[in-house]
């Protein structure tokens, strides 16, 4: 630890990306008073995110791993790769939400500021090397997302979604704090690396109280990534929140939850791998089972995708259960692919929404291919990818996660995952079947805009490119997470 620079002003250089995002968010808050056009706000937001992206990779290239603020903040490949996911997530969300929020009559300037505040919280979580920083990042992310979920103030279902999200989110952060407090009491520190050292030195890795603290932490991260049985909020919130926000929070907070879960388990509790696997393996199995099976019965497509995102959390968990750097790599790889395919699917759902037409029922997709072949083809790509059919990216994501699970000796778990993956094909391909093999009930008019077309093009191209040339993404992930 540096003693000459206790305040850590030199560390400011490492948090330039976070500072950029927060500054742009504050500027947007002021800009909202003068600028009436929301396109300008979105453009400023996207430009700011691109600057932060440039900053991240500039620092990434030059410094490599770095620590700041008395080792509370860490900048390594792992954090940087997660930040890339968050940037992609926020840029695509801004692109798909411009027209949509106007249709919903909730076109507020604060929307873009809150998206950036939430993103900065996620970035802090990805870089947290200390439980205190982790908690603050998590709250920054969560508090902003609660408001975003309830942004359609006049609509009861949006209010209800925000209310449920808020109460269960706050409940889970109380569990996080109790876990932090137990861990702190037994190890005498909140720094992740020092916790690991302390577990060794005091020889308390077998202590049931330490295990209890770890369980509290897993429960609270489980809420954020929507693991069964901590998933109750997800379907309601995903259905009631504005669709663009559903896209945002089905990716962002989930990825941030995995970022902290991976870092806390691997860095602080690495010596307790057997214990945390005893908790995570049953959670993964029931998550995949409940997600895939309950999704079969849904008639609202947002709700169906909520259960699908729960099932995907179960698959991603396999990489963490493997407990090897390779396993972590495969989870991160899956998250990046999931970002593209999930936001793409939600973008198509948003296109169907227009004044006086919800477009959220699965029946609304009947015969879409007749009137709008391109939109139907895009939905087909995203549904195939979510199922995991080659040559789409979803296949690559699942393939590597399952392979890592088998390599680490969890063959049974991989078999269970494949079985539920097959079950999930039913509800994804049902959408495809409705679009191509049924006759349209009524004419669907699509709401499109340039930014929406841009987001759809990016997501569809990435899903196909990663599916055909997986090494492009895999090499990047492997460079980020050495091991």
């Amino acid at each position: 630890m540096e003693t000459t620079d206790l305040v850590g002003l030199s560390g400011l250089r490492l948090i330039i990306p976070e500072l950029t995002v927060i500054c742009i968010a504050l500027i947007l808050l002021l800009l909202e008073l003068i600028v009436k056009k929301k396109e300008v706000m979105a453009a400023v937001g996207i430009a700011g995110t691109l600057v932060a992206l440039y900053g991240t990779f500039k620092l990434f290239g030059i410094n490599g791993p770095g620590q700041a603020f008395a080792n509370m903040f860490v900048l390594d490949g792992y954090a940087n790769f997660f930040k890339l996911i968050f940037y992609v997530n926020v840029i695509l969300t801004m692109c798909i939400s411009l027209k949509y929020m106007a249709v919903e009559k909730a076109s507020y300037g604060e929307y873009y500021a809150l998206l950036l505040f939430s993103t900065s919280g996620m970035m802090i979580m990805a870089s947290a090397a200390d439980l205190i920083v982790l908690y603050l990042g998590l709250e920054l992310m969560a508090l902003s997302t609660y408001i975003l979920a309830g942004l359609m103030r006049k609509q009861l279902r949006s209010n209800e979604a925000a209310l449920k999200y808020f109460f269960l989110g706050a409940f889970s952060s109380a569990f996080l704090l109790y876990g932090i407090s137990l861990t702190y009491g037994l190890t005498g520190t909140t720094n992740l690396k020092e916790i690991a050292a302390s577990l060794q030195a005091l020889n308390i890795a077998d202590s049931p109280i330490v295990f209890l603290g770890l369980i509290f932490l897993i429960v609270s991260f489980g809420f954020k990534i929507a693991l069964v049985p901590f998933h109750m909020w997800a379907p309601d919130v995903y259905e009631g929140a504005p669709t663009s926000i559903t896209a945002f929070m089905s990716v962002g907070p989930k990825a941030a939850g995995f970022a902290v879960l991976g870092r806390v388990l691997f860095e602080a509790f690495g010596s307790m791998h057997v214990q945390w696997n005893a908790v995570l393996i049953p959670l993964a199995v029931i998550t995949m089972a409940a997600g895939s099976v309950i999704a079969l019965a849904q008639s609202n497509i947002k709700r169906m995708l909520a259960y699908s995102s729960i099932a995907h959390a179960g698959y991603m968990l396999l990489g963490i259960i493997a407990g090897t750097p390779g396993g972590l790599t495969s989870t991160v790889n899956y998250l990046m692919i999931y970002t593209f395919m999930n936001i793409g699917a939600f973008a198509v759902i948003i296109m169907l929404r227009r004044e006086g037409f919800q477009g959220e029922s699965i029946d609304d997709y009947m015969g879409l291919a007749k009137g709008h072949p391109l939109a139907a083809a895009l939905m087909l790509i995203f549904m195939f990818s979510l199922t995991g059919i080659p040559p789409t990216a979803g296949f690559i994501g699942k393939f590597y996660v399952f392979m890592e699970a088998i390599n680490s000796g969890h063959t049974n778990l991989a078999i269970i995952a494949v079985i539920f993956s097959v079950i999930s094909a039913f509800f994804y391909l049902r959408i495809v079947m409705y679009m191509y093999m049924k006759d349209p009930k009524e004419d669907v008019v699509l709401t499109t805009s340039y930014s929406m077309n841009f987001a759809l093009a990016i997501t569809a191209v990435m899903v196909l490119v990663i599916g055909v040339f997986p090494s492009l993404l895999l090499d990047l992930v492997r460079v980020s997470i050495p091991g």
Binding site: L131, I132, Y135, L136, E139, L143, Y146, I147, G150, R153, K154, Q155, L156, R157, N159, E160, A161, A162, L163, K164, F166, F167, A170, F171, A174, L177, Y178, I180, S181, L182, Y184, G185, G188, T189, T190, P235, D236, E239, G240, A297, Q298, S299, N300, R303
Partner: protein
């Protein structure tokens, strides 16, 4: 001097009361108060640990928790009021538009 275990037991009891209140009560305001109870039980144990370990980290975290809890209360009550304007009820059982 009061032994550490007393504080920890007190904190565990208060936390359990909070969890019970959150799960069992049917009035949103009381549920909200139970949440605050859970956060404050953590503050008790953190302050106690901090004192016995002679380390400042716990007390610093207590201040952060108090600050964040205030922000959380502001946002939570704002969401509650936005909800109440459209649907004047604070009974948990009547908040059932979204289900399936």
């Amino acid at each position: 001097m009061v032994p550490l275990s007393w504080y920890i037991v007190l904190s565990a009891i208060v936390f359990s009361i909070g969890v019970f209140g959150f799960l069992a009560r049917r009035n949103l305001i009381i549920v909200f108060m139970s949440l605050e109870l859970m956060l404050n039980s953590v503050n008790i144990s953190l302050a106690a640990f901090s004192h016995y370990l002679q380390s400042m980290r716990g007390q610093i975290l207590v201040f952060f928790i108090i600050t964040v809890a205030a922000a959380e209360a502001a946002i939570g009550l704002a969401i509650l009021i936005a909800f109440y304007r459209n649907n004047p009820t604070i009974k948990v059982d009547e908040i059932n538009l979204l289900k399936g």
